[in-house]
């Protein structure tokens, strides 16, 4: 049995601020096989983006990984030095961010920004790097790449820019791509196209994909597995079909119910009452108890992660039946 592409085990990442310790990522564990898509779902502040940054080693002071392991193809990442991380980033692991207008440098040309991504990792000539970039642009569905390459980011639409960002992520043929809400800032139609293409690219090349989002409906169509995060912890995980059809955690249920597509026309949209807690002062017990309609006395203690069924984990004392 081959080892999984990515294995995250007990990851904890904390920010040590003057106001206190913020446990941004608190005991997160999951695995990802090659060619599969994992959805990381949660509200803002749930720690999903921070998990992504941790895997990429992009956490700087005052944040720090305090515990846990991250294994890429069996190789431990948390103990790498800065130079080793740099070699890994953009080459074996790539990241796509939410707003392509801001992630592409507005004063540099597209070809400059793409070519540097290639030449940072491979000692090739500019021409051969350009050739690779052209090929990557074609793969993401940009037909006339040469014209695009000579342009500046502000000359393109949002969808086009995001495709460029994806092309940059793909150009060195990474093993793993982490996409942090890449379609949130785009039109719905473009969103659909990009989702489809990402899925196709990953299954074609065997690249693993972690898709970070707050939108469950996106996950439903795209991912193979899903982890639901709340307040820095994974509260439920499993295959997408299982979790969405039969959620076990009250929070997952709440998320599903609040989807507009699940709403009966004419009735008010269901909402999870209350607000996400501040990560700086979580209480000792379950982070969700104040907003949970199934909270019980046992929830005053922090629930541990346990295996609820084959392939499903859960962190709850009083799950849904």
């Amino acid at each position: 049995m081959t080892s999984p592409l990515l294995e995250v085990d007990g990851l904890r990442m904390h920010f040590f601020t003057r106001a206190g310790v913020v446990k941004a990522v608190d005991d997160v564990s999951f695995t990802l096989e090659r060619g599969r898509v994992l959805g990381l779902v949660g509200e803002s502040g749930s720690g999903k983006s921070m998990t992504g940054y941790s895997i990429l080693g992009l956490v700087d002071a005052p944040g720090r990984i305090v515990a846990g392991r991250i294994l890429l193809d069996g190789r431990e990442l948390t103990t790498l030095d800065a130079a080793a991380w740099r070699r890994l980033r953009g080459d074996r692991i790539a990241m796509i961010f939410q707003d392509p207008m801001m992630t592409l440098n507005p004063v540099l040309r597209i070809d400059t920004q793409m070519v540097e991504a290639v030449r940072a990792h491979h000692a090739v000539s500019r021409e051969s790097a350009l050739a690779r970039c052209r090929e990557a642009l074609v793969r993401v569905g940009i037909p006339a790449p040469d014209e695009r390459l000579r342009g500046y980011p502000h000359q393109f639409s949002g969808g086009m820019r995001q495709r460029v960002a994806i092309a940059i992520a793909l150009v060195n043929k990474p093993d793993l791509i982490i996409a942090d809400e890449p379609t949130t800032a785009l039109d719905v139609t473009i969103q659909g196209q990009i989702l489809f293409e990402m899925q196709r690219l990953c299954s074609e090349s065997g690249t693993g994909l972690i898709w970070i989002t707050h939108d469950l409906s996106v996950i439903a169509g795209l991912a193979d597995d899903v982890c639901v995060m709340y307040a820095g912890r994974i509260v439920e995980s499993g295959s997408v079909d299982d979790v969405l059809e039969r959620p076990l955690h009250p929070y997952t249920r709440g998320l599903l119910d609040s989807l507009p597509s699940r709403n009966v026309p004419g009735r008010p949209l269901a909402q999870i009452p209350g607000m996400t807690p501040s990560l700086a002062n979580l209480g000792p017990g379950c982070a969700f108890q104040q907003r949970c309609n199934r909270a019980a006395a046992a929830c005053a203690a922090a629930p541990e992660r346990r295996v609820a069924a084959p392939g499903r984990t859960l962190r709850c004392f009083n799950p849904l039946p």
Partner: protein, 326 residues
């Protein structure tokens, strides 16, 4: 790109005309031009002749035309004190002033941007805090007093550098410059440093603010996520972004450097146009003052124009013809 340049050129010419009009009004309409432009020691007959030559009996509009015509051909009157054409005096001393101003700007840029970058990247380090404290001192200290202290320390106490004057000059393309000789450099160093101080402090603060803002931007995150070495992230991505406002400031401040050179030239007895101006004001040599004004205004307008052009080269979003999509 060319169309933009031509348009800006046209605007500059317009401002130049407006300024010449203002100077004209100041001298001919408000002041008594005979008083202002004729040697006070002239007798009445000479004054009448001068008045006729200046065309003062003609309507104001015609006078303006004459004024412009004469200004365009370089005739701005003769200096009372030296009895040579005023414009010649100014142009003779302009190279010295420009050399000082450019040296000061160069010093400010070469020191200010790296210091500001460092202070922006590591804002909590003791060195960075020192830089910021120093920058407050730098723009608080009146230029002339710093010059005095420099002379006190380096010339009087330590005897390392000469306290005044310009050093040996060498002709480059017909223009005498002094930075190519050792003696010239020794004379140039203190005045240039003195003049640079204010701008240096401004640049440090500006660069620091820009850097601090830039490193929080997403494109820096993305550049790091691509695995680029820090050298490139800072040196290319951050730098090119912060350069845009910085270059604008440098360019616009160049005019103010030339103006403040007046003070530095007075302290260090540097033979430039600034010292000439002060002497002329004290000696009531008004044609020289007028000539100085017109020349300086022309230089300022030229600088503004150049800055605009450089700005559009650095920031592609500003160029017409590369308008944003949708």
């Amino acid at each position: 790109m060319l169309a933009y340049a031509i348009r800006r050129l046209g605007q500059s010419a317009f401002v130049l005309v407006v300024m010449s009009f203002l100077v004209f009004i100041g001298v001919f309409a408000i002041g008594n031009p005979v008083e202002l432009l004729v040697n006070p020691q002239a007798d009445q007959e000479e004054r009448d002749r001068a008045a006729a030559a200046l065309g003062l009996d003609q309507p104001l509009a015609a006078q303006y035309g004459t004024f412009l015509k004469r200004a365009a051909s370089g005739d701005l009157g003769r200096s009372f004190v030296y009895n040579v054409p005023a414009i010649r005096l100014i142009l003779e001393r302009l190279p010295a002033t420009m050399e000082l101003a450019l040296a000061a700007t160069l010093l400010a840029v070469l020191m200010g941007i790296p210091l500001g970058l460092y202070a922006g990247l590591k804002p909590d380090s003791p060195f960075a805090r020192g830089i910021m404290a120093g920058s407050i001192l730098g723009f608080s200290l009146p230029t002339f007093w710093v010059g005095l202290v420099l002379i006190m320390v380096f010339s009087v106490q330590l005897g390392w550098l000469p306290p005044n004057g310009r050093g040996e000059t060498v002709d480059v393309l017909g223009v005498p410059v002094s930075f190519l000789t050792r003696d010239g450099l020794a004379h140039l160093l203190m005045p240039a440093l003195n003049l640079a101080l204010f701008k240096l402090s401004l640049l440090v603060r500006l660069t620091r603010a820009g850097t601090r803002e830039a490193v929080l931007q997403d494109y820096v995150k993305f550049a790091r996520a691509k695995g680029l070495p820090m050298r490139r992230v800072i040196g290319v991505h951050v730098l090119k972004n912060i350069l845009v406002p910085i270059v604008t400031v440098i360019g616009l401040e160049l005019g103010s450097v030339i103006a403040f050179a007046i003070v530095t030239e007075s302290i260090f007895a540097w033979p430039g146009t600034g010292k000439l101006l002060i002497d002329s004001i004290n000696q009531l040599d008004r044609p020289v003052i007028v000539a100085y004004l017109l020349v300086i205004v022309t230089i300022f307008i030229a600088i503004n124009f150049l800055v605009d052009v450089v700005y559009s080269v650095l920031d592609p979003r500003v160029r017409p013809g590369t308008a944003a999509a949708h």
